[in-house]
Amino acid sequence: MLELIHDYWLYFLIGQYPNGPLGGLTLTVLLSAAALALAMPLGLLLGVARVSPWRAVRWPTAVLVQLVRAVPLLLVVFWAYFFLPAVTGVKTGQATTMLMTLVLFDAVYLAEIVAAGIRSLPKGQLDGARSLGLSYGQALRLVILPQALRHVSPSLVSQLVATIKATSLGYIIGLSEVSFIATQVNTLVFTKAVEVYIVLALTYFVLCFGLSRLAFLLERRMNRRTVHATKLNSR
């Protein structure tokens, strides 16, 4: 196993870079982070639309959210990679395709997280803000969203973990992320499948477990602060 790691660690980490496209673990992490960052504004918008008081805004968003959530990510990856270029005539690379798909999925899941955050607030917050003379937009921006987003920050970290795990599906379209690289290594070495795939699993484990712990700590700190704030308020 040590020999294996010694021979292939660089390939595992960055793929063929700088002689080829960036790959491996670095691509997995960068792609996940980029997808989540790009999905954030869209998710915020969709989340607000999901709990909007106007039916004409709420319903189409609900349809989109339910549609995306009911379809396996893999299917969308296939569609984006094989079907979309056939329709639009624009051929996208594997990384771009995967990024687009992940942004769509993350936006929808983030929308649900944001909507849940908004719903968890007492109704009096919006009513109070509105009766103080703030417009709906102002009330959202100044009162509702700051509170809702503070509540959901642990879920955002969990969503990053989910995205890292979802990036592995890029394997299917030949994106050189870490699972794909591991399979390449397995093909090269041929006799060490057990070691290769255990290293792969451990890599994902360290990354995702670490982040999950971070989410847990965040949540605990948040709860403590909330308790503290409640105590101050009740005084």
């Binding site: 893999l74 990679y81 079907f83 979802a166 592995s168 599906l169 030949g174 499948a193 795939y197 484990f205």
Partner: protein
């Protein structure tokens, strides 16, 4: 060539593939669900047990399996796991339907830890006095688990368990990675994810609906 030829879906070779793929996905779902649910209950009981060792094993299982993507599980169980088996068992596995068996192992493990977490929340939602009352009425440990705690806990856990089952249904699509991908070659010359390590085995037929659907859209457009 028309943009969308619905007759392809109604009859002919592609229709047969689709139906076959759908049936296979359903079989995968059924097999994995039947294994995952009892396993999930067992892991949930371990995690809520009074024994520190059992709790440790349960937590390790859950964290270890949950933090690795399903795709990596499938790759491990299909490519690596058979190498760990003794020769006769390995041969027997290859003679049967290795894709289906390995996909079922991976899917049921992955689903079971998620179900275990839902059942654990269900168990924690049952007031502790229920278990205490059952014990003081003279029921044994196992009997009070089986007749008092679990029926209540599982009833509470039904909605999240249902959504886990929907996830499992969606996850069967990922089993494509260890299916024979011969179908794909005509569609995408650069499809590099195919399992080059091991040639498709005779009788290997793991074609979830996604593979077929995408193949068809690729062909008709």
């Amino acid at each position: 060539m028309t943009f969308f030829d619905a007759s392809l879906l109604r009859s002919g070779e592609y229709h047969d593939w689709l139906v076959q793929g759908l049936l296979l996905s359903l079989q995968l779902l059924a097999a994995s669900f039947i294994i995952a649910l009892p396993l999930g209950v067992a892991i949930a009981l371990m995690r809520t047990s009074t024994s520190r060792v059992l709790r440790g094993i349960g937590a390790t299982l859950v964290e270890g399996i949950r933090n690795v993507p399903l795709l990596a599980h499938l790759l491990f169980w299909y490519f690596a796991f058979p190498e760990l088996l003794p020769e006769p068992v390995k041969m027997a596995l290859y003679d049967s339907n290795p894709e289906f068996i390995c996909a079922t192992i991976a899917l049921s493990l992955y689903a079971s830890v998620h179900m275990a977490e839902d059942i654990r929340s269900g168990i924690r939602a049952v007031p502790a006095s229920q278990m205490e009352a059952a014990r003081s009425l003279g029921l044994g440990r196992i009997a009070s688990l089986r007749m008092v705690l679990l029926p209540q806990a599982i009833r509470i856990a039904v909605p999240p368990l249902l959504s886990q089952t929907v996830n499992l249904w969606k996850d069967t699509s990922v089993a494509t990675v260890i299916g024979d991908s011969g179908l794909f070659d005509g569609v995408a010359g650069d499809f590099a994810g195919r399992a080059a390590v091991r040639a498709p085995l005779p009788g290997a037929d793991l074609r979830p609906r996604c593979l077929n659907l995408s193949t068809i859209t690729g062909c008709t457009s």
